[in-house]
């Protein structure tokens, strides 16, 4: 059984939406970081799907989507590192990982 491109894209969009929902609604900062990672991985899924679909296109270099996936993975790792260090700095001063309690800046 082969999965169609359209199926993969819809699945990827669904996972992406789960990530966005998590970022917007959860209050635990660790869970928000996890949701951000889910979003990037959902994008990777659609890249892989495109990579499979492009294999039949003889005019293009088929390695394009794979290269893109590797780049996204690298960026996701760097982003997690920066995010966790900011989170650590926040936790040291605020003693909380609840986004709702961090509310000094308003207006």
């Amino acid at each position: 059984m082969t999965l169609s491109l359209s199926f993969c894209l819809h699945l990827s969009a669904a996972i992406f939406s789960i990530g966005v929902y998590g970022v917007l609604t959860r209050s635990n900062l660790i869970v928000i970081l996890m949701s951000l990672e889910i979003m990037l991985n959902a994008v990777n899924l659609s890249l892989v799907a495109f990579g499979r679909a492009f294999l039949t296109d003889l005019t293009r270099d088929p390695s394009g989507p794979q290269v893109f996936v590797i780049m996204v993975l690298a960026v996701a790792a760097a982003e997690a590192a920066v995010g966790l260090s900011i989170l650590l700095a926040v936790y040291r001063k605020w003693r909380t990982t609840n986004a709702g309690e961090i509310d000094l800046l308003k207006g």
Partner: protein, 527 residues
């Protein structure tokens, strides 16, 4: 296996072009910035810690990093002055360097240099002189230059991410302060969310056009979109637009901006207000012209043009109204300037829409699109840098001079500086004959010329509203008694003084000689 293309089965399918010296020469300014950043970072390890209070402890760091930025700026100026040979591609079409991207790069390097100059005093005052600060400013400036020059979707994504990450960390630089932590956290979460949208958008565009290269995408559009998946392309474009709207702080996607601007050091706020906006608008303008103005054989061109115009117009109107109205009620100058930055994003979006129209209706020979955006961004960058440098220049101890009340009586205590702030504020408000006025005039004029009366009218009315809050600073400086304010301490603040003098002077010059700068922005506009 039988449906694998022949290219995979052959022994050496892709010719691997090595990086040539031409490629490296083309990105020399970027290499200089990166090299200086690395040197400064390592050098910081060998600097001995403090002599005494009140003297620059690490003058070498400031000097070296500013020198690096100035040399990179001189390189870019040299390339700008060279005769125009059109756009040239480097690194197997990953980068595309033309006069427009060079002009935008110059603005970015200018922003970095002035921020480093203004930061010398404020970092010393707070005991925060570390090499990381200079390195991060230089690294983010380097990635912004690559972002404005990127001609491939992958390159654009990578450089946007490296620049964003540097700026997240810069926002969190004063890590002992709760406000700074909070601002950085909000900036990081919403910035990464926008990155997700942008990335999904770019991937959808890639999937629809089957290419990451902007030139090939344009060719695919010109071809009438025979094999274009139009819902996928529209979806991708919408997601990309949302992602970029976060970065420029357009209205429904602005919520991180006031908090990040307030939490960061004033000098960092000035840096990111200028450079992130310049770099994002350079790419937004390029993408808008590519997707909104490419004539195509089929209906796809008209369809894209209509949707992009509608989306950008809505964003522009909402952003102009929201930014100006909310700025009216702010009690902190820093937060007020943050909302005014949102308002200016709205005016610049009008510039992008008119550029799209101009390009679509056919450009006269020798002219380009987007000169209004360029002409607006140059004085805007100088004004913003000047205003935020003043804020940190006037700071006492670990505090920057942020509340409007703290400017009371400044006209008497510091008459020359107050005059400078007065010029910056009336230029922000767009009162003739200042630099800000000419920029707005050109944008609204072009909006009327291309038939966007509604946009021009909204822009003019909201500009009039903005005069109120900009002048409230002036009222506080000159017409309020300044009893409770203690005078500035006597620490040397030469670098800050120099930065303010240069920015204010440049704003005054642009205001007096608009013709010269208009001709320059025409010459450097996007072909």
């Amino acid at each position: 296996m039988q449906n694998l293309p022949a290219i995979l089965l052959e022994s050496s399918p892709v010719s691997l072009n090595p990086v040539t010296s031409t490629d490296l020469l083309a990105i020399l300014p970027v290499l200089i910035l990166l090299g200086t950043g690395a040197v400064v970072l390592v050098m910081d390890l060998f600097q001995s810690v403090p002599a005494g209070e009140g003297e620059t402890r690490k003058p070498v760091l400031h000097f070296l990093s500013i020198l690096g930025a100035v040399i990179a700026g001189a390189q870019i100026c040299g390339a700008l002055a060279a005769p125009d040979t059109g756009a040239t591609s480097f690194f197997r079409d990953a980068l595309r360097i033309d006069k427009f991207s060079l002009a935008m790069s110059l603005l970015i390097v200018l922003g970095a240099a002035f921020s480093l100059l203004g930061a010398a005093d404020t970092l010393r005052r707070r005991g925060l002189e570390h090499g990381e600060f200079h390195a991060l400013i230089l690294f983010s400036a380097a990635s912004m230059i690559l972002f404005t020059q990127s001609a491939s979707l992958i390159m654009a994504f990578l450089s946007l991410e490296t620049l964003s990450m540097s700026v997240y960390v810069l926002t969190a630089y004063t890590r002992e302060e709760k406000r700074s932590n909070e601002g950085a956290l909000k900036y990081f979460i919403l910035g990464s969310l926008s990155t997700g949208f942008l990335l999904l958008g770019l991937v959808f565009i890639y999937g629809a056009t089957r290419s990451t290269n902007l030139v090939e995408i344009e060719a695919a559009l010109r071809g009438g979109g025979a094999n274009l998946d139009s819902p996928l392309l529209l979806c991708g474009l919408a997601l990309t637009l949302i992602g970029l709207s976060f970065k420029i702080g357009a209205f429904p996607f602005h919520s991180w901006l006031p908090d990040a601007y307030e939490g960061a050091l004033s000098i960092v706020t000035g840096f990111m207000a200028v450079t992130v906006k310049v770099a994002s608008f350079a790419v937004l303008l390029r993408l808008a012209l590519l997707f909104g103005s490419t004539p195509s054989a089929g209906t796809i061109g008209a369809e894209l043009h209509a949707s992009l115009t509608a989306a950008l117009s809505t964003l522009a109107v909402l952003t102009m109204v929201f930014g100006n109205v909310v700025a009216l009620v702010q009690r902190s100058l820093k937060r007020m300037l943050a909302y005014s930055a949102i308002a200016h994003t709205g005016y610049l979006l009008v510039g992008v829409i008119t550029a799209m129209e101009a390009k679509r209706s056919g450009l006269a020979a020798g002219t380009g699109a987007g000169q209004a955006v360029l002409f607006y961004l140059f004085p805007y960058a100088l004004m913003t840098l000047g205003a935020f440098t003043c804020m940190s220049y006037l700071g006492r101890g670990t505090e920057d001079c942020e509340s409007l009340e703290s400017y009371r009586g400044l006209g008497r205590q510091q008459p020359v500086l107050a005059l400078g702030i007065l010029l910056l504020m009336i230029s922000f408000a767009g009162i003739p004959p200042t630099a800000g006025f000419w920029g707005k005039l050109l944008i609204f004029r072009q909006a009327i010329d291309t038939g966007h009366w509604g946009l021009a009218l909204t822009g003019i009315v909201t500009s009039v509203v903005s005069v109120y809050y900009y002048l409230s600073v002036v009222v506080n400086m000159y017409m309020q008694p300044g009893g409770e304010n203690e005078p500035l301490s006597t620490e040397p603040r030469t670098c800050g003084k120099l930065a303010i003098l240069l920015t204010v002077g440049a704003v005054a010059i642009v205001g007096l000689l608009p013709d010269t700068f208009f001709r320059l922005s025409m010459a450097y506009s996007l072909r």
